[in-house]
């Protein structure tokens, strides 16, 4: 993985994914505040994503690295009309690795093609966000003790949600059983179901999950957005079905954990926060260890 850009979760094999998760566990157990001494990391955020940026910057800072970059494109030469290519070519002179967040799809792959230093994709529009997927995997591994043979519930917007698509692709290495719970308008696209068919993995589709929730090892919640519905009536009908409440957790497995990429709006009721099965805030902390592992591995330090 040394010197290789990370653009899509599909860039990593199963073994490489497991290697990153191992390194993340090492960082969690034993911080290494000197590891990135003398290294400069660029964070180029063409759109604001405070959570992701802070997570990356925290990861670099806790390893002793320095950060240069911008936090939104209006304060940089981009606002003067500089092309992405020129910005990347220039910035790759100033840093050992570039972390890029960009609203256009495919921007990270393009940046990795023109950059002299590796690029880590921190989200390219609706396309890919591989570090999110790796931190999701780390959270699953940490809470379940394994990634193999789990029953994963993906809930909410399964049509447009890039995080659930990437998670599905990554978990397909581990003999996962999938339960897709979504309104009809927002079902998992056929291409992913065909992919699971090819691999011989089991999946089930539901429009409600109160009946089956007791089978879940992991519930991965996403938000059902009003603007995804062409008919507002349809949204009104389904909006409460995909809200997780404390009372629903009564007969669930002891090892169940609830994940969410955050920010949440109302799809997980705040009363769930008191349950020890609520894991979404720790999941965000895991993002720091996972991103440390990704950066250290690409820089050849781990």
């Amino acid at each position: 993985m040394k010197s290789r850009s990370l653009v899509s979760i599909n860039d990593y094999t199963k073994e490489e994914i497991l290697k990153i998760l191992n390194i993340a566990a090492e960082f969690e157990a034993k911080p290494e505040p000197e590891l990135l001494n003398g290294k400069v990391i660029s964070t180029l955020f063409y759109e604001p994503s405070t959570r992701t940026r802070l997570s990356f910057e925290s990861a670099v800072s806790r390893l002793g690295g320095r950060i240069v970059g911008f936090t939104d494109s209006s304060s940089s030469s981009v606002s003067k009309g500089e092309s992405l290519k020129d910005t990347i070519m220039t910035v790759s002179n100033y840093s050992d690795l570039i972390i890029l967040r960009h609203p256009l799809e495919g921007s990270a792959l393009y940046a990795s093609e023109v950059s002299r230093v590796p690029v880590v994709n921190a989200g390219d529009g609706a396309n890919q966000h591989p570090t999110q997927t790796l931190l999701d995997l780390y959270s699953i591994l940490k809470t379940q003790g394994t990634l193999e043979n789990l029953n994963i519930f993906l809930v909410g917007d399964l049509k447009y949600g890039r995080t659930v698509h990437s998670l599905l692709m990554a978990m397909s290495h581990f003999n996962t059983t999938f339960n897709f719970i979504s309104p009809k308008e927002l079902q998992m696209p056929d291409e992913y179901k065909l992919y699971l068919n090819e691999l011989g993995l089991k999946y089930y589709e539901h429009s409600d999950f109160t009946e089956i929730i007791s089978r879940a090892d992991i519930i991965y919640m996403t938000r059902v957005q009003r603007e995804r519905f062409s008919d507002p009536m349809e949204y009104e009908k389904v909006k409460n079905i995909y809200v997780l409440r404390y009372a629903m957790l009564e007969n669930t497995k002891a090892n169940l954990k609830i994940l969410h990429p955050l920010p949440r709006v109302n799809e997980i009721h705040q009363d769930v926060d008191k349950s020890e099965k609520a894991y979404y805030f720790t999941q965000a902390l895991n993002g720091v260890y996972t991103r440390q592992a990704i950066i250290a591995s690409i820089l050849g330090l781990k």
Binding site: S83, L84, K85, H102, P103, L104, E105, G106, S107, L109, Y110, D124, G125, A126, N127, Q128
Partner: protein
């Protein structure tokens, strides 16, 4: 005996005849092959009757044979096209176009949020097999189907 007047328009001594082009895509084929920049004599006819295509077009390029890669790029807009290589007024070789595995720098990605529509990037698509040509963008991974195919 052939009519000499007609021969000067429709016959070529040496070169290539591209037949069975859908009439509506004639100018796209011309543009893909870059014929507007050629100095060779080129004749074309369009809105000719065709049992298979309804209306077809035909292009004759004197003194030029195309390499496979050049020609296969027109498969995007003329998948039924047939090429006849002419030598001394005779057809010496015939072949059909084949859809290539990758399309580089011809088509435009249908996704308005794709980076290739915002920066000067040579587009790259993998061709998804099937009856209708569909292209998967290397960059944004979205699929451009026949209906939305745009040649740049």
């Amino acid at each position: 005996m052939r009519d000499v007047k007609q021969l000067s328009v429709s016959g070529i001594k040496n070169g290539t005849v591209i037949d069975h082009i859908p009439a509506k895509n004639l100018f796209k084929v011309i543009s893909i092959l870059g014929l507007e920049k050629f100095d060779n004599r080129i004749t074309f006819g369009t809105n000719l009757e065709s049992k298979k295509l309804g209306r077809k077009a035909i292009i004759k390029v004197a003194g030029k044979t195309f390499v496979d890669d050049d020609v296969n790029r027109i498969a995007l807009v003329a998948p039924e096209a047939k090429l006849n290589i002419i030598n001394n007024y005779k057809v010496v070789e015939k072949y059909n176009v084949e859809v290539p595995k990758e399309i580089i720098g011809i088509a435009r990605c249908v996704n308005p949020k794709c980076i290739t529509n915002h920066e000067q990037i040579i587009t790259r698509f993998t061709v998804i097999p099937g009856n209708e040509i569909a292209l998967k963008c290397r960059y944004c991974e979205k699929i451009t189907d026949q209906e939305h195919l745009n040649i740049r």
